[in-house]
């Protein structure tokens, strides 16, 4: 079952200037997400390459990381692991939101869910709904 179960309340005043790192290799999707997030008051950086994205994420500049699981060079799961491993990433303030269309076996997914702050299926929500969701993540 897909996890679109988190309610999406409309938040009137999302924190402006919060930084989002969008790790997504499908250009059309990142374009849509960046558009909506920027409109919602976020500063968005898009990186389609997994290896580069990991290095960028480890700079700890971001409040939110949107992480696709199927990205080139270093996979989303590897990125997640590296970001949660304190020997590799001593400090990380960002909340990690998995955004994927990939269907995981439940055991794998449980593992991901335990390490990420949220797990979203991209096909289940529109960009606007994504922004509403990100607004709720503090």
């Amino acid at each position: 079952m897909q996890s679109d179960d988190t309610p999406i309340p409309e938040t009137p005043n999302p924190a402006p200037g919060r930084k989002v790192l969008c790790i997504e290799d499908e250009h059309f999707i990142s374009e849509l997400y960046a558009r909506s997030l920027t409109k919602g008051g976020y500063e968005v950086t898009v990186i389609p390459d997994g290896a580069k994205a990991l290095i960028e994420a480890q700079t700890d500049k971001y409040d939110i990381i949107l992480l696709d699981l199927m990205v080139p060079n270093v996979t989303g799961i590897e990125i997640l692991r590296a970001l949660r491993d304190t020997t590799q990433t001593p400090q990380l303030k960002a909340k990690i939101i998995i955004t994927t269309n990939l269907d995981q076996r439940d055991d794998v997914r449980e593992d991901i869910e335990n390490n990420a702050d949220a797990y979203l299926v991209k096909a289940e929500l529109t960009p606007h709904e994504l922004v509403n969701f990100v607004n709720t993540v503090q």
Partner: protein, 511 residues
């Protein structure tokens, strides 16, 4: 048989020899005494004397040589009997008569008891032990013996290794506690056992692709299962289970099946984009386009939602088949869940001019459900009602308590209805009303999936329909308190927590 006949003959011959010898003694005595002129009774007494004196010795000899083979035979039979008699294996060397014959016969008795293969051992008793030990320790297949209460009476070393427990830990455990098995269909071991206990003296069956969830992060095992049932077995060995491991092969198959997951991923990416672009258009063009274009926009949006739902159906059916669909039963307010699910599908009804009228009875208890899978059920039933509504423009949804104390929700349309002839197959995968196939799209996955999900929740799904008047699909879910009560009774919290229910534990949820 020849041996037995020969033995009978030899015993008869021995008896003839003994009786003849006794008679000859009397006759010899008579001849000796006759020469003396004595009164008749004295002659008779003296003539009989040697025979009388010899009698005890003759009887003793008879017993020893005539009865001993028979004794050896009954000892052998009793020694092998399943009831304990405390009889040791017969000793053959002391036999005087037909020694070889008796030895053969005893060997044949042991052979009949399937022990003789090991009679190289010094005595037959040792052979019996060897035989049992041989099976117990060397059978390379996990092997379990259950008594009439489904308690494990015996488990071999391979079984213990297979499920990662000690053999003595297994003995005395309920089989469902020890083996957390899940089956690819509703034809499960426990349902089979339940039915054969009622109607069969002996039965056997087998299952493919059984999944075993092993505790403590052991990898899941996949195997074929064979079971043999023998009612009222005197040694409490009622059910035998043998497991044939195929973990490697089946998990490779499963990897191949994830083709579905990959296809779903490929389908979802364009869907994500379509939904995204439609939303951008809706936002940017709001109030700037004609009502007709606005209507088209809504229909486009509804169609992408429907396609998203269908992709989820495909995925979930694939998961059911791979036994991968899991439920996480949690306490939820039914009214809230139902309204959220209906909100999600409202646009699809709206663009077809259909109104969903919802009645939720007040004071419904909290229910134990997996919200996401129940969403799928509601989606599928409403989608179905929309499809088969025909000219009718109303769908009624009604949630209430039923007589059995379950929370029941019915979805009623006033459209085409279902012919009675196809009712029995309605919940079968890929089954659709053939007459309507040309006019109405769909795959026949929705009802199959809905039934699977509702059943796994411990609920029921039913349909009532009249052709030309519409159909009512009703499903039930359990109040959370009742669910926990059943889990308590099953004393099986551990398994539930680990497995979240599904077909594997369906018997624990069923009433």
């Amino acid at each position: 048989m020849d041996n037995l006949q020969e033995l009978t003959r030899s015993i008869r011959n021995r008896l003839i020899i003994f009786v003849t010898a006794e008679n000859l003694l009397i006759i010899f005595g008579w001849f000796v005494v006759e020469h003396y002129d004595l009164p008749g009774y004295v002659t008779l007494l003296i003539a009989m004397a040697p025979a009388l004196i010899a009698s005890p010795f003759i009887v003793r000899g008879m017993t020893k040589s005539v009865m001993a083979p028979i004794t050896a035979l009954w000892q052998a039979v009793l020694h092998l009997s399943p009831t304990q008699h405390g009889i040791a294996a017969p000793k053959i060397d002391s036999l005087k008569v037909g020694r070889e014959l008796v030895a053969n016969l005893v060997a044949q008795i042991y052979q009949l008891a399937d022990v003789a293969a090991h009679t190289q051992a010094t005595t037959a008793a040792e052979a019996t032990d060897l035989h049992h030990n041989f099976i117990a320790s060397n059978l390379p297949l996990p092997f379990f013996v259950l008594n009439e209460s489904e308690i494990i009476q015996f488990a071999n070393q391979a079984a213990a290794n297979y499920i990662g427990m000690q053999a003595d830990e297994l003995i005395g455990k309920n089989v469902y506690m020890a083996l957390d098995m899940s089956f690819p269909s509703e034809d499960t071991f426990d349902s089979w056992l339940k039915s054969v206990k009622v109607s069969n003296a002996t039965a056997s069956s087998s299952w493919e692709r059984v999944r075993l969830n092993v505790r403590d992060n052991h990898p899941t095992r996949l195997f074929d299962l064979a079971a043999y049932y023998n009612k009222d077995n005197t040694s409490h060995m009622e059910t035998l289970l043998v497991l044939f491991d195929h973990t490697k092969q089946y998990s490779q198959d499963d990897q191949a099946v994830s083709f579905v997951a990959l296809s779903v991923h490929e389908l979802r990416t364009p869907l994500t984009l379509l939904r995204g672009y439609i939303e951008v258009f809706e936002e940017e063009l709001e109030g700037k386009i004609t009502p007709e274009l606005d209507d088209f926009m809504q229909k486009m949006s509804a169609q992408t939602e429907q396609l998203t739902a269908f992709v989820n159906n495909i995925l979930n059916v694939a998961r059911v088949e791979e036994d991968q669909l899991q439920l996480k039963l949690q306490t939820e307010d039914w009214g809230t869940v139902l309204k959220a699910a209906l909100d999600g599908i409202n646009l699809r009804a709206k663009v077809r001019g259909i109104e969903i009228q919802t009645t939720i009875a007040p004071g419904l208890p909290a229910v134990g459900i997996d919200r996401l899978s129940i969403h799928e059920v509601v989606n599928n039933l409403i989608d179905n009602a929309i499809k088969y509504s025909g000219e009718s423009k109303v769908i009624k949804v009604d949630a209430h308590m039923n007589k059995e104390g379950m929370v029941e929700t019915s979805v009623q349309d006033f459209g085409l209805g279902i012919s009675p002839s196809i009712m029995p197959n309605l919940f079968t995968k890929f089954y659709r009303d053939h007459r309507n196939r040309a006019q109405i799209g769909g795959t026949g996955l929705g009802l199959f999936l809905s039934k699977t999900i509702v059943t796994a929740h411990g609920g029921n799904i039913t349909v009532a329909s009249k052709e030309g008047q519409g159909s009512t699909f009703s499903f039930t879910v359990m109040p959370y308190t009742q669910l926990t009560e059943e889990l308590k009774q099953s004393e099986n919290k551990e398994i539930i927590r680990g497995a979240h229910g599904w077909i594997k534990n369906h018997s624990l949820y069923r009433r």
